[in-house]
């Protein structure tokens, strides 16, 4: 219902729009555990896509393949028209994929601004050595954080002192910065209270309206129905179904997840 009408119409005429990301026949095993089996799915630009599924279904593993942590044992992922072969998270970030990981990937002992600019530090070249431009990073961080719907204390405070919601906001803030084309969020509101969840959802919707494509993993069906344009259902390492959110119901999704309904 919060989805603008224009989104719906691009969707119905989406034949012409190329997917931003296509997962084709991707498999990955950890020893004898087949975490991903021939997964096929796609993400459209400017949309919020959700992946749902039970614990251990392989959602995080799939996301880690997109963000350069794992490499699929077979199959291809096409991003922005070209097949990707990320050797490290650095490559994924270079390509424009930013990830907010399930276990809040912030360094608690560093400050908010240091985390926001981690591995993207601004430096002033002094001959061969780059000297950190701390002042510029702090004021930039101040600007990035001030646009958040969540109140975050001063950017010079250590992340250790932040609440779960504030940390999540900082993670999302980092992912949304640096002109990313795709922001992936693995259970962004799992640890949050009602108010923080609402704020983070607002943030996610704002990212979409700013033109970011978003991939969100969530166990919260109400949230998925509220936010997403497209839902993919995973079960035991397979992607078993895909639905336009507007054309499905929470009950149907639950049935697909448990296997009570075949795709």
């Amino acid at each position: 219902m919060t989805t603008p009408l224009t989104k719906q119409s691009t969707e119905s005429g989406s034949r012409a729009v190329e997917p931003l990301l296509k997962v084709q026949d991707v498999s990955l095993s950890f020893g004898s555990v087949r975490a991903l089996r021939n997964v096929d799915l796609q993400l459209m630009p400017g949309e919020i896509t959700a992946i749902v599924g039970d614990n251990g279904a392989g959602k995080s593993t799939l996301v880690r393949c997109m963000s350069g942590i794992h490499r699929p044992s077979s199959g291809t992922i096409v991003f922005d028209g070209a097949p990707i072969d990320f050797r490290s998270p650095e490559d994924a970030r270079e390509a424009g994929i930013e990830t907010v990981h399930q276990n809040l990937a912030l360094v608690e002992d560093l400050t908010v601004w240091q985390n926001l600019f981690l591995n993207r530090e601004l430096v002033t070249k002094l001959g061969p050595v780059g000297i950190l431009n701390r002042r510029k990073m702090k004021s930039e961080a101040e600007r990035m954080v001030s646009t958040l719907a969540v109140n975050v204390p001063a950017v010079t405070s250590r992340v250790r002192r932040l609440s779960g919601g504030q940390r999540q906001a900082v993670s999302i803030c980092r992912a949304a910065g640096f002109s990313s084309k795709l922001v992936i969020m693995d259970e962004p509101t799992a640890a949050l209270g009602v108010q923080e969840t609402a704020r983070v959802e607002e943030l996610i919707q704002r990212l979409r309206s700013e033109g970011h494509a978003i991939l969100i993993i969530s166990h919260n069906f109400a949230q998925v129905m509220r936010l997403s344009d497209q839902v993919w259902v995973m079960r035991a390492g397979r992607c078993v179904a895909g639905r336009r959110t507007a054309q499905t119901t929470g009950e149907e999704i639950v049935a697909l997840i448990t296997g009570a309904q075949a795709a």
């Binding site: 998270p89 970030r93 809040l104 002992d109 560093l110 981690l118 591995n119 010079t156 405070s157």
Partner: protein, 335 residues
Amino acid sequence: MSPTTSEQTAEPAASGAAPVERQSVSQRLASFTGWSEWAAPIGLLVLVIVFQILNSTFLSLGNIEAMLAAAAILILLSVGQTFVVATGGIDLSIASTMTLSAVMFGVGYGADWSIFLCCLLAVVTGSLFGLLQGVIIGRGKITDFIVTLGGLSVASGLALVISDGQPVTVISRFMLRLSTDGIGIIGWPVIVALVVALIFHGVLFHTRFGTHVLAAGGSEDAARATGISIARIKTAVYTVAGIMAGLAAILLVARVGAAEPAANTQFLLNSVAAVVLGGVSLVGGRATIWSPVCGALLLTALTNGLTLLGVSQYYQPIAVGGVVVLAALLARFQK
């Protein structure tokens, strides 16, 4: 922090860097520097006062000069150890690497190399040995404790093999002046050590590498997810420790007047002790340079003061060990 939150958001973000700077200073005092970071400087101050009361020659120029000269080697080793501990590791080989570097200095000297080349050889030896350990720890993903314990053994063994157990007397104007001259009462060794410490303070807090060292120590997963290569960081910090061991070897040779394969075990314990006293988190992620430097000065003052008071040498390791465990306990209580 929470009381300032509302002001924070009310303030226009563009209002510039000044408030940001001011806040960082007040914050530093409030939270950034927990008092474990102050343990070493405060302890040093207390120790100096106590020893001065007990023996008025403690703060005589001659004794200060002697203490500073004795502290220089330990300061260098502590700086190297700090980088390693900041990543959550430990370098047990640092003192043996210094011995090996000193022996290699002697090899160069024996082959009639210029003193400059001998110094270079010592530093190159230390850095290569550190690099090798770093590669095994970083790329090979083997526990630092085991690798550097092995490194300790290998380096001291190599030092004995290469030197055949014999010291090489080094007679050089440069080395003599290095160990005896200085600016006023401050000898060259401690000037060198402090300048190096200052440079590496800059490296830790004002370069990307330094930030990545702290990030890798704070949370490997989080650092890796932003694209930081943990293997590279680990390799680099053990190399830094090796470089420090090499530099320390030069000061050691100058001090002793010879390159000898002595064990130097007390330097290992003391370098770890200085880092602990300096409030560096042993699990990584939090570190300063100035505080371990104070820790090194404290340990030197402790040994010196006890000697002045006529306490037997045998008690000194006990005093050092006690102080370190006490510091670690205090740091624990802070949490």
